[in-house]
């Protein structure tokens, strides 16, 4: 299973969910294969993609929030799993694509290429629903559950890299404004309006 297969499978099931995509390949491929207003493309802040998803899930409990994370990024901020487990938003679906590499910088091996097991770490952190998938049939079954049943979810998906992704140069502010309209979030910047 390759990254593009995972991105397409998620995009096909996303409905009105809000998606936060990690910097690099996940953001690039989501833009290429499933661009829509409800996608936020991270351009930096490695390690914080899941934290953005957590804040979004707390602000919008009425919407599914999907995080498309990378294993190198999740390893940079493992504490977020403990925070997400403690806050326990039922609408959060944190998907981590595990390639065992720092893909953007030339494919250097990282701890998940060896003994580190992100699903086990998530269970240890107390995440309510943890699942794994290594082929497309398993992924389809897991996604159908994770997008319907209460979470929070951590879904670890093992992928093989095929090659470099196209890299659209998305503009943070244009993306933010489109995303905030999709998320109905502009009340945060306008003091005269407050969500009831």
């Amino acid at each position: 299973m390759e990254r593009q297969d995972v991105i397409r499978a998620v995009a096909a099931r996303a409905g009105d969910a809000l998606i936060v995509a990690n910097l690099g390949s996940n953001a690039y491929d989501l833009h290429t294969h499933g661009h829509r207003p409800g996608n936020l493309y991270m351009r930096g802040a490695m390690g914080l993609t899941g934290s953005v998803g957590l804040g979004l899930a707390m602000a919008r409990p009425d919407r599914r929030v999907i995080v498309l994370d990378g294993d190198g990024s999740l390893l940079m901020n493992l504490g977020q799993l403990a925070t997400a487990a403690a806050e326990a938003p039922a609408n959060l679906v944190h998907i981590v694509l595990v390639n065992g590499l720092w893909q953007e910088t030339g494919g250097q091996r990282i701890a998940t290429a060896g003994r580190a097991d992100l699903a086990a770490i998530a269970r240890g952190a107390g995440i309510a629903e943890v699942a794994e998938a290594a082929d497309l049939d398993a992924l389809s079954r897991v996604l159908d559950r994770a997008l319907a049943a209460p979470g929070p979810w951590l879904v670890a998906v093992r992928i093989q890299e095929r090659g470099a992704s196209q890299a659209p140069n998305t503009d943070p502010m244009a993306n933010r404004d489109e995303f905030m309209r999709a998320a109905e979030g502009f009340v945060a910047v306008a003091p005269q309006y407050e969500r009831a």
């Binding site: 809000l18 936060v20 936020l40 991270m42 351009r43 930096g44 802040a45 490695m46 390690g47 914080l48 993609t49 899941g50 934290s51 953005v52 998803g53 957590l54 804040g55 979004l56 899930a57 707390m58 602000a59 919008r60 919407r63 929030v65 901020n77 504490g79 977020q80 403990a82 925070t83 403690a86 806050e87 943070p172 502010m173 993306n175 933010r176 995303f179 905030m180 998320a183 109905e184 979030g185 502009f186 009340v187 945060a188 910047v189 306008a190 003091p191 407050e194 969500r195």
Partner: protein
Amino acid sequence: MPWADDVVAGFRSQQVRLVVYVADKVLVPVLDRIAADPGQFRLVPLTREEEGIGVLAGAFFGGMRGALLMQSSGFGNTLNGLASLAIPYQVGFPMLISVRGALGETNKAQVPMGRAMPELLASLGLPRYDLDRPETVESVTRGATRQAFTTGRPVALLLSSLLTGGKGGGF
């Protein structure tokens, strides 16, 4: 602690709902007041300060206003989150920072980041306001918080040991 009442009143007046933090002894009176009002505030302990930049960005995108509470040493942990997420995506929130390493400090390890913080804030282009006089705490907190949300920019509120008495409660 009237200053703590005033800080919380300033946040409340600007519809702050989500307060994320890494604790500091000086912040305890603020944290206690926030915890005592669960109808207004959701209080979330973090594992590391930078995590809070992500959580507040997500909340902001979804329409919920938040604040980050930490000590000055923890500010050092937030830098890449500020520089590559909050600033380019124009995410606004107040950062209430208890200043360590200044008047009355006894811990040498607190001094370097305490000294560097104002210059780090300035070099990132982030507004900084001091909470050091009891009579202006509420108005400065209210104004800085309003500025943060309406201009889409993190704003630092520096809690001086002149106001709080520092970690030991007086020096």
